[in-house]
């Protein structure tokens, strides 16, 4: 009886074990990744003095194909971005050129925001590229969060280490800190405006902050419309579509 009581107490109050952590990460991936989706969003880039709003529409299939067209302001209208596997191409009507972004250029910010091209490119499920370990539980805004630490299991990731505050109910990383190999904090993200869309919980407001740029006030990415599992024609992801 005493043994059973000890076992019961340990199950109730113990930290989540590796299996449970894996489940948490899988649930996060399930919420954040999908077969395909079409998103209409706006990015609000907060500069030192003013803020800029850039509207765009994206078509995403799995983790390997994504096409984004910028809709406004007039200056950015017509700019497009295409991701096919690990290649990223951009097109701006002003230059009328398709440029492949690679290597060190991936580190550059997208349209002056706190997001880098690498942030866009790296879209693999976390469970495939990181091993997670539990750190602690934390209460944020009266909600229970699991703090987990993710360490890369493959080379060449933009962020070899990250720490996530995962909401215990939604299984979404409400807050994340992204680190360099040396442990230097590079970027922080947060998400809010969580909505139930179909079977998944999905955030509609993301905030990215480049922690190395002291002058940065962060970039908001607000999802206005999102549709999951819709038919996206293959032709969307043709390179020639960038010039259309």
């Amino acid at each position: 009886m005493i043994k059973f009581f000890i076992f019961f107490i340990s199950v109730i109050f113990s930290e989540p074990n590796d299996q449970i952590i894996d489940e948490i990460v899988k649930k996060m991936d399930m919420n954040l990744n999908s077969e395909n989706r079409v998103i209409k969003s706006k990015m609000i880039i907060h500069g030192r003095r003013t803020s800029r709003t850039i509207e765009s529409k994206s078509w995403i299939v799995g983790i390997n194909k994504a096409f984004t067209e910028y809709l406004s302001p007039a200056r950015e209208k017509g700019s497009k971005m295409l991701k096919i596997n690990d290649k990223l191409y951009t097109f701006t009507p002003q230059t009328d050129r398709i440029i492949q972004i690679s290597g060190h250029m991936l580190r550059q910010s997208v349209m002056g925001s706190d997001m880098s091209y690498n942030d866009i490119l790296e879209d693999k499920p976390l469970n495939d590229i990181y091993t997670a370990s539990f750190e602690k539980e934390e209460i944020i805004n009266d909600r229970k969060h699991y703090v987990i630490f993710l360490k890369a299991i493959e080379e060449g990731l933009a962020y070899p280490q990250r720490r996530a505050w995962v909401d215990a109910e939604y299984f979404l990383p409400i807050k994340e800190e992204l680190y360099a190999k040396s442990g230097q904090l590079l970027k922080s993200t947060s998400m809010s405006g969580i909505r139930k869309i179909g079977e998944r919980w999905f955030p509609t407001i993301f905030v990215f902050k480049d922690e190395l740029k002291k002058t940065s006030k962060g970039t908001e990415w607000i999802i206005d419309e999102i549709e999951f599992d819709v038919d996206i024609p293959e032709s969307i992801f043709f390179k020639s579509n960038l010039r259309k």
Binding site: S102, G103, H104, M105, R107, N118, A152, E155, G156, L157, A158, Y159, P160, A180, K181, S182, Q184, L186, L212, K213, K214, T215, S216
Partner: protein
């Protein structure tokens, strides 16, 4: 006799002669000075480049193109053993090149990060200053221009972000340990220098480098598939820039020479018209037309000789002073991407001095000869009567 008459005429013309001589001598001075500055600039740029960048030449990784930063991430490999031996015997130095970003005061500044052999004495870069650093941060050496641009001073720390060989981004804290003064903007602007061993570790590129610079006393022939770049190859860009600028310099010489020539031509023409009666008398007394032409040509030649002598006496000390102490330049040209000393020392070569004197002499002969030809067409009686035809 003609020579004596020419001297008398020149001295007799008084202030007019001396003004001509002075203007010509100013022109000679300006030609020599501007040519000297030009040669000095060229020589300085070459010397500085060889001193701080080139030495005896280099071996480059086959993919390395210093003007295309995108090639940097693929232009590194284990340094060929023949070059490693040279590095170990202090006859060469290794440099590893990569792109990076630094965040001074939270601003992002893209830079070229170069790891260099610290013990080297081949290039005039004070790399040994980094050896004095004992802290835990990444010790960084930058140039004065970079320091001004980034507002970084000795002791300042900042984040450096780079991509390693596995294409993983990493970051660390850099600290400025020394600020060098260099006339070569190419090793200053947009550059940060650090110990090569440290950089190899940061980038997971153990024993790798991008290029190896060797001492000018040795001449290694080959190093695997690495490409040898000799001094001639490495200074070709600079030579091209200077060559492109040569037409401008030639135009300046032509303008200055034209000014001097016009002065003499004007003076000689005036002199002929004012001295018609004298010429007529000389011709009536039996002087041959050819001798009259010769007289005026000698006068022109004397003008040139006086001008050369005046240049030596009047401007010689000034030219000498500049050749020793240089000419302070009002602005820092390194901001414009030029290797120009803040105090530029003109170089006057013997061929320059002789050629300038000879050209001025010949031009003055020509402009003296041309108006005096008109005399040969005059009738002595008309000349005595002061009639021009």
């Amino acid at each position: 006799m003609l020579f004596n008459i020419a001297i008398k005429n020149l001295v007799g013309a008084g202030i007019r002669t001396w003004l001509n001589v002075f203007v010509t001598s100013v022109s000679i001075f300006m030609i020599i000075f501007s040519s000297g500055m030009y040669t000095g600039m060229k020589q300085h740029a070459m010397n500085v480049s060889i001193d701080t960048e080139i030495a005896g030449g280099a071996f480059w990784h086959p993919n390395y193109d210093p003007y295309d930063p995108i090639t940097f991430e693929d232009s590194h490999s284990i340094t060929p053993s023949i070059l490693t031996e040279l590095v170990e015997s202090n006859k060469a130095l290794e440099v590893l090149v990569s792109q990076a970003s630094i965040y001074p005061d939270g601003r992002v500044v893209p830079v070229i990060m170069k790891g260099i052999t610290l013990e080297q004495e081949i290039l005039n870069i004070p790399t040994k200053e980094i050896l004095k650093y004992e802290g835990d941060n990444i010790p960084i050496l930058i140039g004065r221009g970079m320091s001004k641009y980034t507002k970084l001073n000795i002791g300042d720390t900042f984040i450096i972000r780079w991509m390693d060989d596995n294409r993983t981004y990493d970051a660390g804290l850099g600290e400025i340990v020394f600020i060098m003064d260099s006339d070569n903007f190419k090793i200053d602007f947009g550059h940060i220098w650090l110990p090569i061993e440290k950089m190899q570790k940061m980038l997971s590129m153990e024993n790798e480098s991008t290029y190896v610079v060797f001492d000018d006393n040795i001449n290694p022939h080959s190093a695997g598939d690495w490409i040898k770049r000799d001094v001639k190859y490495l200074i070709r860009d600079m030579e091209t820039i200077i060559e492109q600028d040569r037409p401008n310099a030639i135009m300046i010489y032509i303008i200055l020479l034209s000014l001097a020539a016009m002065g003499i031509f004007n003076a000689q023409t005036l002199s002929i018209f004012r001295r018609k009666k004298e010429i007529g008398t000389l011709m009536a007394l039996g002087m041959h037309k050819r001798k009259v032409v010769l007289l005026f040509t000698i006068e022109g030649a004397m003008n040139a000789i006086f001008a050369i002598i005046l240049t030596v006496l009047l401007f010689g000390p000034l030219l000498y002073y500049f050749s020793i102490y240089g000419v302070p330049l009002p602005i820092d040209y390194s901001d414009m991407g030029l290797i120009i000393a803040k105090r530029l020392i003109p170089i006057y070569s013997m061929p320059l001095l002789v050629a300038t004197a000879l050209i001025v002499f010949l031009i003055l002969l020509l402009v003296s000869y041309l108006p005096s030809r008109k005399i040969s067409k005059m009738h002595p009686v008309d000349a005595i009567r002061g009639k021009t035809t």
